[in-house]
């Protein structure tokens, strides 16, 4: 068992060290949601009227509404970023080191996932702290109860990144991930507008939003930020995490893939 914990600590630490070495990444990851919060939301406040929907008990400003979605955005971008770094690792060869370790491959990939999720969560809290400075606050307990929700959502989106990394052959293909995964997932979700608003425009778009796992991740975070549990969001997010993780494991199965062919 100690071998498992030793490897977990080392992999998480390596992700942390890599993160410290890439301070620009941290700043970029914070600037993106802050621009949405402080510029986009301010502009849209007047355009979008929001009714009282759970978990909110009073009228809220648009800024308050999109905070959980922006937390999800950080996790989504980081999940994809870690997929990018896995493809980079594979091109640079350091993935080979991980995959030739005598510990089970599934465990090592899980540790990698955990490391990148932990860093994403730190960024979410940095974002929430800055939002609080601008007077966009959640109930005090919400900051604590959000942690498990962020973990589950982060693992789900990280598992999606892991899955994508097993299929992306080269670093250059990453632009496709941007266009075909990040943007549709983000815009076809409840991150920026509640689903009933979407239903007013198009039933089809509403249905797509409703099956998007990112919607459920955002709703899970939204309720958790108000110290409430949304069981169906939790269930769907866990289910999506399990499916993505299982598919990623198949993607990294040495009998099926040619990881390491390059170099």
């Amino acid at each position: 068992m100690t071998a498992y914990l030793t490897s977990m600590r080392a992999i998480v630490l390596r992700e942390a060290l890599r993160f410290i070495h890439q301070r620009e990444r941290f700043i970029a990851a914070l600037v993106r949601p802050l621009v949405w919060l402080l510029v986009f939301a301010a502009g849209f406040r007047a355009a979008l009227g929001l009714s009282i929907i759970p978990p909110y008990q009073t009228y809220i400003t648009y800024e308050t509404y999109i905070v959980p979605g922006l937390c999800g955005m950080i996790l989504l971008f980081n999940g994809m970023q870690s997929s990018l770094s896995l493809v980079y690792d594979r091109e640079m060869g350091s993935m080979k080191l991980l995959l030739t370790s005598p510990l089970p491959r599934g465990w090592l990939l899980f540790c990698k996932l955990l490391g990148s999720t932990a860093i994403s969560i730190l960024q979410v809290y940095a974002f929430l702290a800055i939002a609080a400075v601008f007077d966009i606050r959640m109930p005090a307990w919400g900051y604590v109860t959000a942690l498990p929700a962020l973990l589950v959502a982060g693992l789900m989106l990280g598992a999606l990144g892991l899955l994508l990394s097993s299929f992306i052959k080269q670093l250059e293909n990453f632009a496709g991930v941007m266009n075909f995964v990040i943007f549709p997932m983000f815009f076809l979700s409840s991150a920026l507008y509640p689903l009933w608003k979407m239903a007013e425009s198009s039933e089809l778009l509403h249905d797509i939003c409703a099956v998007n796992p990112f919607t459920h991740a955002v709703e899970l975070i939204r309720f958790a930020l108000y110290a409430e549990l949304n069981p169906s969001a939790l269930g769907w997010t866990l289910l999506a995490a399990a499916i993505f993780a299982a598919a990623a494991l198949i993607g990294y199965d040495p009998a099926r893939t040619r990881i390491g062919r390059r170099g």
């Binding site: 030793t6 080979k96 995959l99 030739t100 370790s101 005598p102 510990l103 040495p254």
Partner: protein
């Protein structure tokens, strides 16, 4: 006792056959050179031996452990130096070794003493705090060899480890690998350079997905220099 065995390995990339019915064995404690021109299938063979790929046909036995049925025990006996550097260039030598030790479940005092010993062996102790990016090619290779030896594997696989090194670094690393074989490690050394092979070494010649010859280097060379014999076998002009 056999260190490393391969039986009937085949592998293709689509229609292109990279290896076809490749079988060989390397005795325990031998220095065995795997000689082949570029594109012969050496790297594919390394990917199979390290389980980055799994061959649809054939069997690999590492220090008595079948790689297919008992991959973890087999991988624990392998030290690997990949052709392309696999150091994290932003980490120090020490941090790179710590990371690798942990991937093998080594930690604390045990890991520290092994790392110190490996760095001493390769004359890299005073560079432990330097970032891998600051090291020259020869020192990076030494770090990788030190790393590959950390978990005390019985077999060391090196895939063209001297590529891009100057003559002195090349000679020093080749000598060191031979010394390791004398100390009892089984070495499989892939190369396309005949001057890295000594006459008393075991030799496997791989060409166009097939093993062309296997035996002592001096027997394969016969009465000609190994270089000439190799070029004649692989149909390349001298």
């Amino acid at each position: 006792m056999t260190g490393l065995e391969a039986h009937g390995l085949s592998y293709s990339y689509g229609k292109k056959k990279a290896l076809e019915d490749v079988s060989f064995s390397v005795s325990s404690g031998a220095f065995c050179a795997l000689l082949g021109p570029n594109g012969a299938g050496k790297s594919t063979l390394f990917n199979l031996l390290t389980r980055l790929f799994v061959a649809p046909e054939g069997r690999i036995v590492i220090a008595g452990h079948d790689l297919r049925s008992n991959p973890r025990a087999a991988l624990a006996e392998l030290g690997i130096v990949f052709q392309q550097t696999t150091l994290d260039l932003d980490l120090t030598v020490q941090q790179n070794l710590n990371y690798f030790a942990a991937l093998h479940g080594l930690s604390g005092r045990n890991a520290r003493s092994r790392i110190d010993a490996a760095l001493d062996q390769l004359d890299m102790r005073e560079r432990a705090g330097e970032k891998a990016r600051a090291l020259n090619g020869g020192h990076r290779r030494r770090t990788e060899i030190a790393r590959a030896l950390l978990h005390d594997p019985s077999i060391l696989l090196l895939d063209e480890p001297t590529v891009g090194l100057d003559a002195a670094a090349r000679a020093s690393i080749t000598d060191y690998a031979h010394a390791l074989a004398e100390q009892g490690k089984t070495i499989l050394w892939a190369t396309h350079l005949t001057d890295e092979v000594r006459s008393e070494d075991d030799l496997i010649v791989l060409h166009c997905a097939h093993v062309l010859a296997q035996g002592k280097a001096r027997d394969i060379a016969g009465d000609q220099p190994l270089q000439d014999r190799f070029l004649a076998m692989t149909g390349e002009d001298a």
